[in-house]
């Protein structure tokens, strides 16, 4: 594809909207909030428009690829295919909502220029990860993501925040280093530029290399697993909860954790390929690790009394569903894992928005403080309830669709024990979400809230905080209720699965 075609530049353009926004925000003075908001929202909407454009193209099997040769044998590739669109679409839509939310959340707080600048850089990195066409490009943006999210984690500047930032860097830079080792080893071994291809690129390799390839697989998983919060590499996640709610929402639903999971999905499907990975026998250990993470995350969530920490461990558990789905051989399991990438994103962002609303409006941070909050903030609580039931897997919400496909996929792959893991996880999810819902709706509110910052007016809280919460809750319902329609996340995941198994 020549540099003169639009299709060559589209991937760069998609990334560019947020990169330009970042530059613009860093240049703008702190005291120009209106212009900053305009820039933010304008860039987000432009990005969504571009994504919709390429969406139609990809359905038609059009090719959008930006390719530069940086070194002989090493290309920088940005490519839009069905799989990258999954992540790109999720990121761009949720970026819009998280931006609106962050505008409201950080109103009148210092350092907003810096915050939104790095926020946009974070989204740029996420786009880069989503659009990366080979492991090399992936690695570049993976590291960039770490560096652009660090300032967000330590935004508040308190000693706790700085300590959390140090922990975060230790884990993620360590993971990045391991990933680099894995990619370098793979390149050295195979001499292959390791471009992502729909059914993997390792079909024709010599059998003597298989033990090496198995070892490299686990090195790659370890590197990606830090961000994807696989145990025992998940330690940074609960600690990073000290960051403001929009950051938690972004980290846990959109950017960092999803990037790790997405990386694992890419390695399994587009580098090794399902067939080859199955042949090597690496899928079962990964499935077991994912299952342990699912159960461990939920057990730890039960022990937390801070709302955001509870949600953090829930994320540890739920993201492993995606990893688990990638180990279930067969299209149904694949669909389950991929669709959960979208569903978990929407549901988790709803829950974090809700938690942020409670914290910002009423100063409610702890579970015991949730008593009676349903009466004071009914709409937020409805959204939170929807997110919680979605996590438990109650139909007709999005979470049920994912669990259904994962369960059927496990049975198709002959791994019946996975059903036990899914059910145990549902029971544990019920155990740590239902009490919260009970407190909200069935207990009496205290005479005074811990720190009521936003009084009850026409809306229960600031509109900037409320509307994104309701919007993502609505998506949670729609994604499940209309899963069978052509516009649903399920249909998109099915499309990817078909292309993976039938090249």
């Amino acid at each position: 594809m020549s540099m003169l075609e639009l299709n060559f530049w589209l991937p760069v353009l998609i990334m560019g909207t947020s990169l330009l926004a970042a530059c613009g925000i860093f240049i703008l003075p702190e005291r120009r909030p209106g212009l900053r908001i305009l820039l933010n929202l304008g860039a987000a909407l432009t990005k969504i428009a571009l994504v919709i454009w390429v969406l139609f193209g990809v359905i038609d099997q059009q090719l959008y690829e930006t390719r530069f040769t940086l070194l002989p044998g090493l290309d920088f590739i940005l490519r839009v295919d069905a799989m990258s669109l999954l992540f790109t679409g999720l990121s761009s839509v949720l970026w819009l909502f998280t931006t609106i939310y962050a505008i409201g959340y950080l109103e009148d707080s210092p350092g907003r220029s810096r915050f939104f600048g790095f926020f946009s850089l974070c989204v740029t990195s996420t786009m880069g990860i989503a659009l990366a066409g080979n492991l090399f490009t992936f690695l570049i943006f993976f590291e960039m993501l770490t560096l652009s999210t660090y300032p967000l984690v330590v935004h508040r500047g308190t000693p706790d925040a700085l300590a959390a930032g140090r922990t975060y860097l230790r884990y993620t830079l360590g993971g990045g280093a391991v990933l680099l080792v894995g990619v370098a080893l793979l390149y050295a071994l195979t001499g292959d530029p390791l471009e992502f291809a729909e059914t993997g690129v390792m079909h024709d390799l010599a059998p003597e290399l298989f033990p090496w390839l198995t070892a490299i697989f686990f090195i790659l998983i370890a590197g990606l697993g830090v961000k994807a919060a696989l145990i025992p590499l998940h330690g940074w996640l609960p600690v990073a909860m000290v960051a403001p709610a929009p950051v938690s929402a972004l980290l846990h639903a959109v950017a960092v954790v999803k990037a790790g999971a997405f990386g694992i999905v890419r390695v399994v499907y587009n580098v090794y390929g399902m067939d080859f990975a199955f042949q090597l026998g690496v899928l079962l250990p990964l499935a077991i690790l994912a299952s342990l993470t699912i159960i461990w995350g939920s057990v730890q969530a039960l022990r937390q009394t801070d709302i955001k920490k509870r949600l953090a461990f829930s994320t540890v558990s739920q993201v492993s569903y995606i990893v688990l789905g990638s180990t279930l051989f067969g299209p149904i399991g694949t669909i389950g894992g991929l669709v959960h990438l979208l569903h978990q994103g929407i549901m988790k962002v709803t829950l974090f928005f809700g938690a942020g609303n409670y914290a910002e409006t009423l100063g409610v941070k702890n579970i015991q403080q949730l008593n009676g909050v349903g009466r004071r903030m009914p709409w937020t609580s409805v959204a939170f309830t929807i997110g919680a039931f979605g996590m438990i897997g109650v139909p007709p919400l999005a979470g049920f669709i994912s669990k259904w496909y994962l369960g059927l996929g496990a049975l198709e792959a002959g791994m019946t024990w996975v059903i036990g893991v899914l059910l145990a996880s549902s029971l544990l999810n019920s155990a740590y979400f239902l009490p919260l819902i009970y407190r909200m709706w069935f207990k009496t509110a205290p005479a005074e809230w811990p720190h009521e910052r936003i009084p009850d007016g026409r809306l229960e809280t600031s509109g900037w905080l409320l509307w994104p919460t309701l919007a993502t809750a609505l998506f949670t319902v729609l994604a499940g209720l209309f899963a069978a329609s052509d516009l649903s996340p399920l249909s998109w995941a099915s499309l990817i699965a078909v292309r993976e198994y039938l090249p």
Partner: protein, 507 residues
């Protein structure tokens, strides 16, 4: 054309209670009570007047199917009638309730779940609305906010969630077995598909347990006696009358009852287990129930006992596939009769607490009618149900079972006598809402007449009910129990000195 209209209107009618949520707002207080009353009426009208039909909606969920057929029509009519009456009674309790909005909203959601699960023809729809009914129903159980209510709610939700897990396991394994791709099978496809497969027994057992929590099967019944006394009276009525039937209905739809008569005895272990658990429930619940002090607790144990009888019938349908249609008809007849009678008795408890000047004797006399119906006294709906059951038992000819069922009538009679005793103790002639009285009278009338209006294939004709055998069958259990009660009081209890007035204790 009417048929077309009914088919198109089915989904809106089922979801009508949920749509009414939009009208449920703090600024329209007068409207809230009426929402409770009218919510089930569209569904009632369609269930009564429409012919059989099926409806598919491919873009919703994973593709849903709803319909009206011979197995759900009777239950739908009973359910909608009961919810409407209960709504009429609940309406008068709203003023002065600090949480009335929450009550009305959860009531409407529970009702939506109850109605739509009965109309569901595919696995996902059934599971969705079963879950809705279960979770929203929690709110009705804990509504009063007392410590006992909270405890009952906890047991309820723990068992409910465990039941949901079993149900999901069964549905996943079943869908993998009979379906292809990720598609969701129809309930009939599932039950037919289970019949010929090796895993069929496991899956059927998982589904039995999952649905059995709701149906109050012995061993999974713990929530029932806790939840009924603490819930508001109209909610207890629909809980016992309609909601627990959802579990039974689920069994009828998913278990391979004679869909394939050649199961080759593969499901016999499950059938035998069901019969045994049913018999245990029928008697053990009665033995526990006769020692309870509160009327609602007695009724709760009576529900477990009666559901035990229905479990026995379902187990027999599984064991004798050649008679399955007759068994299903008998089960439906029993379920409808029990729903209406139990509903009337629960409403009666509310009435006895505020009888508006009616005397204790009059209250007991009126409530004796549904109680006699439950025992199976002559000319009542219970008698029709019992006769049908007896005929089937003669056909399968298991002498122990016939004997057990005969004595089950004694158990029920004992429970009803205890109910009367407990009600007499709780009796209070203070003023109360007239709606309660109206509800009770309507329910009693329906109990006595309603089952004749419900078209069921195996409803026996009038003549069999007048035969001497049937008349005797309806009378002797109660007579025996009264005899035993009189003997116990004469021989083992000191004569009571009546120091209080006519109206006795107030608790």
């Amino acid at each position: 054309m009417m048929h077309e209209l009914f088919t198109q209107a089915w989904l809106p009618a089922l979801l009508f209670p949920a749509l009414l949520l939009l009208l449920c707002a703090r600024r329209w207080p007068g409207l809230q009570g009426w929402l409770l009353v009218v919510a089930a009426i569209p569904a009632l009208l369609i269930a009564v007047f429409a012919g059989e039909f099926q409806l598919e909606l491919n873009g919703v969920l994973l593709g849903i199917e709803l319909g009206l057929h011979e197995r759900n029509r009777a239950l739908l009519i009973m359910t909608t009638l009961l919810w409407t009456l209960a709504g009429w009674m609940a309406r008068s309790s709203l003023p002065g309730d600090p949480h009335r909005l929450r009550y009305v909203r959860l009531w409407l959601l529970t009702l939506t779940g109850n109605l739509t699960l009965l109309a569901a023809l595919d696995v996902a729809t059934f599971y969705t609305f079963f879950a809705l009914m279960t979770f929203a129903g929690y709110g009705l159980v804990v509504h009063q906010g007392t410590a006992a209510a909270r405890y009952a709610g906890r047991i309820y939700i723990i068992l409910a969630v465990v039941g949901e897990a079993f149900l999901l396991a069964g549905f996943l394994l079943g869908a993998a077995l009979v379906g292809s791709g990720g598609e969701v099978p129809a309930l009939t496809t599932l039950s037919a598909g289970l019949a010929g497969e090796q895993q069929g027994l496991l899956i059927a057992s998982l589904l039995f347990i999952g649905l059995g929590v709701k149906a109050g099967v012995a061993g999974l019944h713990w929530w029932l006696p806790l939840a009924h006394p603490v819930a508001p009276t109209p909610a207890s009525a629909v809980l016992s009358g309609a909601m627990i039937k959802a579990g039974l209905f689920g069994w009828l739809m998913v278990l391979p009852l004679g869909e394939n008569p050649h199961t080759g005895g593969a499901f016999d272990p499950l059938g035998v287990a069901m019969v045994l658990l049913g018999v245990i429930a029928a008697f053990a619940a009665a033995m526990l129930g006769v020692f309870q002090r509160k009327a609602k607790e007695v009724l709760a144990y009576s529900s477990i006992s009666q559901m035990g009888l229905m479990t026995v019938l379902t187990g027999l349908a599984l064991l004798y596939p050649m008679y399955w249609e007759a068994f299903v008809a008998a089960i439906l007849l029993y379920a409808v009769h029990h729903g209406l009678a139990k509903g009337a008795l629960f409403f009666g408890v509310g009435w006895a607490h505020h009888s508006r000047g009616w005397s204790r004797f009059s209250v007991l006399a009126v409530l004796a009618l549904p109680a006699l119906a439950l025992i199976g006294a002559p000319l009542t709906s219970g008698s029709a149900a019992k006769t049908t059951m007896k005929e089937l038992l003669y056909q399968v000819d298991i002498s122990q079972l016939t004997l057990a069922m005969t004595w089950a009538a004694v158990a029920t009679a004992a429970l009803m006598v205890r109910y009367g005793w407990a009600l007499a103790r709780e009796f209070n002639p203070t003023p109360g809402p007239v709606a309660t009285l109206q509800t009770v009278l309507a329910a009693v009338v329906l109990t006595l007449t309603g089952v004749w209006l419900v078209p069921l294939a195996a409803t026996p004709g009038w003549l069999t009910l007048w035969s001497p055998g049937t008349l005797w069958d309806g009378v002797w259990p109660l007579g025996l129990v009264l005899l035993v009660v009189i003997i116990i009081r004469r021989r083992f209890m000191a004569p009571k000195v009546h120091t209080h007035g006519r109206y006795g204790d107030q608790n």
